[in-house]
């Protein structure tokens, strides 16, 4: 690099502008690729954008904190976006009332199997205790999951990553799984994806249609509440049993 470019880079990489702009560019690039590939699940926009950004930060030797100083403005919008989920949810009110009991029972089954299967399978393949505790709330939306992990004695920042990976896996895998299981109803597709894969699953469900998205949002919200209530008394005995 000539000294001139170097100076510009040093200046820009220290300002939040770069992290923010790169996030928006990477995401839009990812969406474009996703559309070109006819929304093939493996070209999930979150997966592509994260991969691009990690490679870029790694190649330029930029610290995550430096990047996040800019990207935090995008991250902040998760809060109001979560609140805004109430609106598509409200549109589904009549159907929610009609399906209330089946939805609650499916939620309970899904919520417990999400935490139990993750911890048991992780333990079977030799994951450490800290990883298991961080893994338990992996199906819950990031802010709740981090809070739960902290309470349980896991590593909140590891949980954040596992949550995102779970979201991507669900968004990528669900369309195939639904073909195998022959689940066609948008409400069911959305609801199951929202339980397993929180916001990223919800985003994927909204790509399908508004009804699937609304049920995913509902599942995500209630699974967050339920897991926050269940895990603190479900997990300690399980960990003692595994030890």
């Amino acid at each position: 690099m000539s000294p001139r470019i170097n100076e510009i880079w040093v200046y820009l990489s220290a300002s939040p502008l770069l992290g923010l702009t790169l996030t928006l560019l990477a995401y839009q690039g990812a969406v474009l690729i996703n559309q070109r590939c006819r929304e093939h699940p493996l070209t999930n926009p979150v997966l592509l954008a994260v991969t691009m950004l990690v490679l870029l930060l790694w190649a330029t030797g930029t610290a995550y904190q430096t990047y996040f100083d800019g990207a935090q403005f995008v991250h902040f919008l998760l809060g109001p976006a979560t609140v805004a989920l109430a609106i598509p949810l409200y549109a589904q009110l009549p159907r929610l009332k009609r399906m209330a009991i089946p939805l609650l029972l499916a939620l309970l089954a899904g919520s417990i199997s999400a935490a139990l299967s993750a911890v048991l399978i992780g333990d079977l393949f030799g994951a450490s205790d800290a990883s298991l505790l961080s893994l338990a709330p992996k199906s819950v939306t990031t802010p709740i999951a981090m809070g739960i992990a902290e309470r349980l004695g896991g590593l909140p920042s590891l949980t954040a990553v596992l949550v995102i990976l779970t979201g991507i896996l669900g968004a990528v895998g669900a369309p195939w799984l639904y073909v195998v299981l022959r689940i066609h109803d948008p409400a069911m597709r959305g609801f199951a994806l929202g339980i397993a894969s929180h916001g990223i699953g919800t985003a994927r469900a909204f790509q399908e249609n508004e009804q699937a998205g609304a049920f995913a949002a509902l599942a995500m919200g209630f699974n967050g509440l339920l897991t926050a209530l269940l895990l603190p008394w479900l997990l300690p005995p399980l960990m003692r049993w595994l030890a």
Partner: protein, 122 residues
């Protein structure tokens, strides 16, 4: 749009305050969502402005997870040591959860509401 954004932030703020004040394990935005839902049910639906703003925000919901996702950089070490166990656990558990939730819901709705949306079948 400005009014709608302010409204969303106000509900988030109320949610955060309740979460902290009652030291609940549930984060503020989720409580904010519940409050807004209750308000909509009480008032009888969102305004056009609020609906459009929410739609714009939720259309790019995926984008909002990107900054946290890049945080995977901070866990290279652990990932390198335990990636097999973590990957198997994540993949298997996610699929098990989706399958159980969807199948339980289908089994229960078939019995209770046999006319559940035949028009949505492709």
């Amino acid at each position: 749009m400005l009014k709608a954004i302010t409204l969303l932030l106000l509900f988030q703020l109320a949610g955060e305050s309740i979460s902290i004040f009652l030291s609940l394990p549930i984060p503020g935005p989720v409580i904010g969502m519940a409050l807004l839902f209750a308000a909509l049910a009480w008032r009888g639906g969102p305004s056009l402005e609020l609906r459009e703003t929410a739609q714009n925000l939720l259309q790019h919901l995926s984008l909002l997870f990107v900054p946290a996702g890049v945080g995977i950089m901070l866990h290279w070490q652990r990932m390198a040591e335990e990636w097999q166990a973590l990957l198997i656990a994540l993949v298997a558990s996610t699929f098990i959860t989706i399958a159980i939730s969807a199948l339980v819901l289908r089994a229960l709705t078939r019995r209770s509401a046999p006319r559940a949306d035949p028009e949505h079948r492709p």
